[in-house]
Every structure is written in C-alpha cells, then in structure tokens.
C-alpha cells in the first residue's frame, strides 16, 4: 500500500492513478476538440439509452479510477471498496442519516463488562448468492484468516491487530476477544466472505477474485462481470435481506477523461457522473441548467491538506529521504501555512465548492470536528509569517531571498499529483504567496507520487484522505507505530509523523468506549496535529456530482439531507436508487442534429466550390 494508493482508498479520496493511454487518446482528440468546442455539435447525436431492450433497468455510473483488486483482503481504492460494499455485507452498516452504526450482518452486539469480549448476533435470514446460508462461521473464518495470514491482512489488518481470538459458538453467534479495549468494534469495515468459497484460496497476496463469475456474495448486488479499465457489471440480488434493489443492473463504465464522462451524461449514455474527485466548477455550472440533469452537491468526506516532511524515519530509528532540514522548525512550518490564503483557495480554485479548512476531520462529522482556538489559529497573515521566519533565523538576503544557516536560499519542492488539476492550481498560488515571503518553490507534478513519497524525497506535498464516520483509521496513520519497520519497508504512515503526545492520545481514544469522552480526546489529537504543522488542512472539498433525472427518479444521499452519492460509507445510494419509468429516450438533441447537419452541408458546399475553382484554374494544365 502506497501513499498514492492510500490516497485512493476506501478511507481516502478517489484520486485515480495515471492513465497514459487515455491521455493519448485524449491527445488525438485534442485537435478535434479544439475545433469542435465552439460548435458544440454532437457528432453522434442519437442518445443511446443506458437501458437494454426488454425493460431491464440499468444504472450506469461513469468512473475513472482503476480497480486495484476485487479481493476484499487486498482492495484499498475507493471504487474497489465501494464495489465490495455492494457485494459483501459487513457486520454493521452506518445509518445514512447520521452515520451511527446500524445492523448489517449482525443484528445486535454487546461488549462484556471488562470491555474485552464482544458478542455479535448474526442474522439468520441472509444467504449467499449460491444458496448457502450466511453464518457466524463465515465471519469468524474471515477475521481469523486476517489474523493468521499476513497477506490477508493487507487491506484491513489494522482492525484485527488487537484481536486475541475469534470464534463462532453457534451459526448465529460470533464472539471476538480483544487484547485491549477497542472503540472501533461497531465500525469494523471488513467485508465478510463465504468460507466455503474462499477456503480453497492458496495465496491471498495473489488472488484477485476476478476469475470466476458471478462472484458469490451476500450484498445488494452480485458481481457478474469485470474487464479491467473497461467496465464492472453487477446484477441485483433479489434475495437481499434488506430488500431487493430497484434497478436490475448496475454498471460502472470507464471514462478516463472527465469531460468525456460529462458529455456521456449529457447524451444519456451514463446515468451518473461523480468526477475524480469532483466535477469542476465549470462542468457543474454548465450542467446545472440542463433539462433532466440534477447536480448534487454535498459536504465532502475529504480534507485537502499540505503535508510537510518531518524528516522521514523508520521504526528502527534509521533516517532516510531528503526533506529540507529547515522544515524541522515548527516556526517555519507555521509560517509557511500562515502565508496560505485559504479563503482565496476556496473562492478561486474551488469556486465555492469547498469549505475552508480548520481541523483534521471535516465538519461533516460533527462529533469529531474541531476548530483551532483564537490563540492557536494560524490564520492568513503574511506579515506575521515573515516575522516568524525572521525569528527562526531565516532572514532575507540582498536579493530578497530567505537564506538558511548554510547561506543557501530556501527552496521547497512541493509534490503534486499531475492527475489532480486542483493540486496544480493551488501550487501556482503557493508559488506566488511564498515568493512574496522570499521563499522559492518548485512544483513537482508527477503521475506517480508514490515513489518519492515513500522514499521521503519531498519537502511538502498535497495530501488528502476521505474520513470514515469512525475516525480511527485517519488518526492511526500519523502514529509512530505506522512508520515503516525499516527504510526499505512500506508503512501505513501517511507522511512519517511520529509524536509522543499524539501517540498517547491515540491509544487513549482507542480504548475509550464513552463516545463523548472519546470525541474529546480525538479533538485534543486534532489540536496537537494542528500545532505541529505537519498536516495543514486547507479545505474540505465538496462532493459535486450529477445524474440524469430521466433515468434515476430518486437516490439516497448520505447524510440524507444534502449529502453525497458516490463513495458513501455504505451501499445506500445504489441500493435505494429508483429508476425513472419514462421511456423518453430520444429528443433533446434535435437542435444539435440540425446545427450539425447544417454545418456539415456548409463545409461540403465550401469544399465543392473550392475544388471546382481549383479545377478551373488548372484547366490549362490538364489534357
């Protein structure tokens, strides 16, 4: 698991890896686009309905992120884990209203008095898609596998690290014994797999669960077909215990170019576009006025931050990487962030489709949302930033550049994702803001940021994670325990933060079962993280997505009031989507057809006249 991948995980934002081929195709189309953009004439005007002929209701979703694996033990990207949510039921789900744990495979659960034994009652009305009954044994086997096989712990190992034993005394009873109290026991985001299918798997690190279809599952949908970077096809599980989905089929179709996906939505080829990570302001604005298209905007689960390299080191104490030593000074880190006008980032880059950054956890999770107090607030103040840098000993030289103790001017490399336009845009602002402070900056935009990131070869980096209703995971990635064992290993750490105070708080919150007290500790952790200045949250981007109302009548957002649809903490959106019964497939683009035909005729006529004239002028030369 690498930062880039993590940045696209279930817990992280849907940033897709690089796709060179798609870009080449886009390049080939570039000239055509340039020419035809002004005309906006659909070359293929007949809208292709996403539905098959004989009344089968299909919901098509445009996606761009590649599937890393369909094995629940390996998959970490947002798309893959969303698909696994649809095909495998978890012990508990999150309520679409306020994200409190609701029954999933488990109908009820209770801890023992010493907080170390948890007993879950497994529902008896759930069946696997091949007809077998879902029992507590399946769940016990799944957890046990993750505890005993290191390869099976790749994706979700952090949940079971503290488990002492798992057993299934009866088909409806699951007992988990812990080493220490664990607050995340009602938020175990682990897909439960059928033991009778999975027990034959030999090597969990290689098995990607994409060979024999349909894939046996117990979620609201059954995976029936998958072709890498082409489509993922699922059919409704009519026997799903919570009730069958309203659509018969759900297809995730690949559009590597976001503009192409938006065009497909306009034409009705797809029912839903989420964008990667969101529709751009221009796209959202142009779709807003369209007939039969609804633009949905909800508070995002993501934070968008500027991470600072704290001097990468491994658990064995060995230092590596080449982060700038001046960044080890907290005053420098704070000064850098104080020169960032977060309001301008919201207004100009996100154009209002984001909320100004405060603490580590987005305001959407109100229980854990924290704001810096007036005294610790690092608000935008370039003058104070300059003062802080002066104090830290980085004074301006004659050329107006701030120099370090070695006499060399400060110049930071900022790692940015070449696939994310927001990184590049914010990077240009940073360059000018820091330039005014006298600090140089090189924007290092790469398609694959993983390698320099893991090697600690960066000074600052654009960072972002999607946060779950239970914040344990995003908090755990900043503990010393998440550091790689040696410089050669890969740790779960986000950017090598290791702070004793923070770690103590982390251990305390994990063992705290009282939710109010736990929230209080989590807020202290956020406060500590804010002061350290290694993770500077600039914004919480909104989810901006669009769907066709003539294909989807209604769909559940999460939170129900003004929430997002794609990448929810659960299967609510696709499970609840109601197809629109209208058959209004054509129309809408007739003006486009007329314009296109007229333009074509004009071009042909002009060409004809031109050639006729040429023939006349060369008449003398011909025989």
């Amino acid at each position: 698991m690498s930062p880039q991948d993590q940045h696209g995980t279930r817990r992280s934002h849907p940033r897709s890896p690089r796709h060179r081929t798609a870009r080449l195709v886009a390049a080939a189309g570039a000239v055509a686009l340039t020419v035809s953009a002004g005309l906006a004439t659909p070359l293929n005007p007949a809208p292709q309905r996403a539905q098959a002929a004989e009344g089968k209701k299909t919901l098509t979703v445009a996606v761009a992120q590649s599937v890393d694996s369909l094995s629940p033990f390996l998959a970490v990207r947002l798309l893959s884990t969303s698909i696994l949510r649809l095909t495998y039921e978890y012990l508990t789900d999150y309520d679409p209203g306020d994200a409190h744990p609701v029954p999933g495979l488990a109908t009820s659960w209770k801890p023992s008095a010493d907080k170390l034994t948890w007993t879950y009652t497994i529902r008896s009305d759930a069946t696997w898609s091949d007809g077998e009954k879902v029992t507590a044994k399946d769940a016990a086997w799944t957890f046990d596998k993750m505890m005993t096989d290191e390869a099976a712990a790749t994706a979700n190992g952090s949940f079971v690290a503290n488990f002492r034993s798992v057993s299934a005394p009866s088909p409806t009873q699951l007992v988990i014994k812990l080493k220490k109290p664990q607050a995340t026991m009602t938020a175990l985001d682990v897909p439960i797999v059928p033991q009778h299918i999975w027990k034959s798997v030999k090597d969990f690190s290689k098995f990607n669960n994409d060979k024999s279809f349909p894939i046996v599952g117990d979620g609201p949908f059954v995976l029936t077909d998958y072709k890498a970077d082409s489509y993922v096809r699922l059919k409704a599980n009519k026997d799903f215990w919570r009730g069958a989905p309203k659509f018969d089929e759900l297809v995730f179709k690949y559009y590597k170019d976001q503009d192409a996906a938006v065009a497909a939505l306009r034409k009705g080829e797809v029912s839903f576009v989420a964008g990667q990570p969101a529709l751009t302001p221009a796209q959202a604005a142009s779709l807003k006025g369209q007939k039969d298209i609804h633009v949905n905007e909800g508070p995002g689960r993501r934070f968008y931050a500027l991470a600072t390299n704290p001097g990468a080191k491994a658990r064995n104490g060995q230092k590596f990487g080449d982060g700038d030593p001046s960044l080890l000074d907290q005053r420098v880190r704070n000064a850098l962030f104080m020169a960032v006008d977060r309001k301008a980032v919201i207004d100009k880059v996100f154009q209002g489709h984001a909320v100004e950054g405060q603490g580590y956890i987005p305001p959407r999770f109100s229980t854990y949302f924290w704001k810096p107090s007036a005294s610790q607030d690092l608000s935008y103040d370039p003058a104070k930033a300059a003062q802080l840098l002066d104090q830290a000993g980085y004074k301006k030289n004659a050329a107006g550049k701030r120099v370090g103790k070695n006499g060399k001017p400060l110049n930071y490399r900022v790692l940015c994702h070449a696939t994310d336009p927001n990184d590049k845009a914010v990077g240009q602002y940073l360059k000018e803001w820091w330039g005014k402070l006298g600090i140089g900056m090189t924007l290092d935009c790469l398609d694959n940021v993983t390698d320099p990131w893991l090697a600690g070869k960066y000074d600052l980096a654009f960072d972002g994670w999607s946060v779950n209703p239970d914040p344990d995971f995003v908090l755990s990635i900043h503990t010393c325990g998440a550091l790689p064992a040696t410089p050669k290993d890969t740790g779960a750490t986000d950017n090598f933060i290791c702070d004793k105070t923070y770690d103590d708080l982390y251990a305390r919150q994990l063992a705290e079962y009282d939710s109010a007290k736990r929230a209080d500790i989590v807020k202290q952790m956020e406060s500590r993280l804010y002061d350290l200045g290694y993770m500077n949250v600039m914004a919480y981007p909104n989810a901006v997505e669009a769907y066709r109302t003539d294909q989807i009548k209604s769909i559940t957002t999460m939170p129900k009031a003004a929430g997002n649809i794609y990448g929810q903490d659960g299967y609510w959106s696709w499970w609840s989507a109601v197809p629109a019964d209208s058959g209004s497939s054509s129309g809408g683009s007739s003006t486009g057809v007329i314009v296109g035909v007229v333009a074509g005729v004009v071009v042909l006529a002009a060409a004809g006249v031109f050639f006729a004239m040429r023939r006349r002028t060369t008449a003398d030369d011909r025989e």
């Binding site: 390049a27 940015c416 000018e432 803001w433």
Partner: protein, 303 residues
Amino acid sequence: MTADAAPATPGRLARQRRRQSAARFWRSYRTHRAGMIGLAALVLFALMALTAPLTVGSGVAGVTDAPGAPLEAPSLDFPLGTDRFGRSVLGLVVWGSRVSLLVGLLAAVLSVVIGTVVGVTAGHFKGAYATVLMRITDWFLVMPALVLAIALATVMTRSLGTVILAIGVTSWPTTARLVRAQTLAVESRPYIERAKALGGGHWHIMSRHVLPNVMPLVLAQTTLMISSSVLAEATLAFLGLGDPTVISWGGLLQDAREAGAVSAGDWWYLVPPGIAIALVALAFTLCGRAVESVLNPRLGVAR
C-alpha cells in the same frame, strides 16, 4: 577607403560572394507567394513574442492578483475572456507565444544539430561506424516519436529543458537520413578526391567541403522542423508533461481541458491557443517549403 581602392583579399571576395548569393536567394524567395505570407506571419509572431514584456507584462501570468472572475466570457475588458484563475486569455496567449516559440526553436535546432552530425559523419566514414549509426537512426525512425518523448519527459523532472531535450532527441532521424544522402552525393564529387590527394583530413573534408554543401538542406530542414517542434511542445504540454507553472499554448489547452472548459462550452479558453498553434506551425511550414524549393531546383517547379 573606397570600394575600388580596396585590395581583393580572399575574405573580402568571400563576403561579396555571400552577399550576392543572399540577394539571389531573396529574389528567388520573393517569387513564392505562400512563403512570403508565412514569413509575414512569422515576423508578426516574433514581434508579438519579443514585445510581450512591454504589451502585456509578466504580471499577466500571476494568479494571486488576477483581474477577472474565473472563466468570464469575452467582453470589452477581456477581449478573449478569462481563464480558470481569472487571467486574461488574450494576455496569456501573447505571453505563451514566448515559451512556445522558444521551445520550438531550440528543440528544432537541437534536433537538426544531432541529425547533421550523425548524417555527415555516417556519410563520410561509411563502414561499420556508419552501419551502426544508421541502424540506430532507423530504430529512432520507426519508434513513435511521441511515445518516446512522453517516456523521456516522464522520467525527467518537469522543466522547459526536459521538453526541449525530449523533442530534440526524438525528432532527428529524418534530418540524419537526408543529410547522409546529401553527404554521399557530395563526397562522390571529384574535388573531394582532389582535396584528399592534397592532404585534407577527415575534419577538413567534413567541415570545409561537405558541411557548406549540405547547409542549404539543413536550413530548409530546420525551418520545417520548427513547426513540428512547436506542435510537439504543445502536445507534451497538453498531456500535462510540461512545467505547470510555465505559460505555453499547449499548457493553456491542458488547463482548459482540466478545468472542464470543453464540456462547459467555454470556447474562448480553447480556441485562441489552438488557433495560435495552428498559425505558427502553418507559417513555418510555408516558409520551409519556400526555402526548400529555392535551394533545391529540382523541387522548384512551384506554380
């Protein structure tokens, strides 16, 4: 000192000869209407690029003090609208011409220099050396240049130098082939044999006899190569392989695509840089064709 009083030194004679041939070249070039149109366009673009610091100023690329709102439609204040940061697209296109032309020129020069060196040496030395060199050339020739350039630009840091290098080292094989053919033709002439008999070494033959004879070809090739280099630069920048903080025409197209201007129908963001690229490439091609037909009489049956 008057002209007739001056002694007819060899240098003076050479200068005179060169002046005459330049005048002859210009007389012949003037008869190519398309070439003149291309030249006029080029002069205009060059003026635009050179005077950009006076007309629009480097401040046009600044994002923090952008004058307009993002993606404004064309108006009197912004004749070509604004980009995603609220900067004037007209100003950006003018400012971007500097990078696009500079990269196009330098990459073309680099490519032609590599091609000439390979071509002349391969044509002169022959034997195993030439065989190996020409096989390498063939290899570069059949490799899709764009893919190779993308690979190069990806592994190296993103900067203008990288783009120049990536274009330069992938586009030289055609020049090498052309120059080698011309070198072979020149070297088979009797005076080369005489020069050798008089003790002219490899360096003397190549620099004094072969190079001046392939120079017209190289000149024409350079002019033609610039247009493809400008296009290649735009392509690489459009694919996001350029330095994102540098304004170029291809980079503007890439910005427009990323901002979703294509599906939003914000044509003013896409069309101006696109047209600028097309015009510059066309102008260089027209000039190159004209130069080619002036210098190579066998091609010169232009209507």
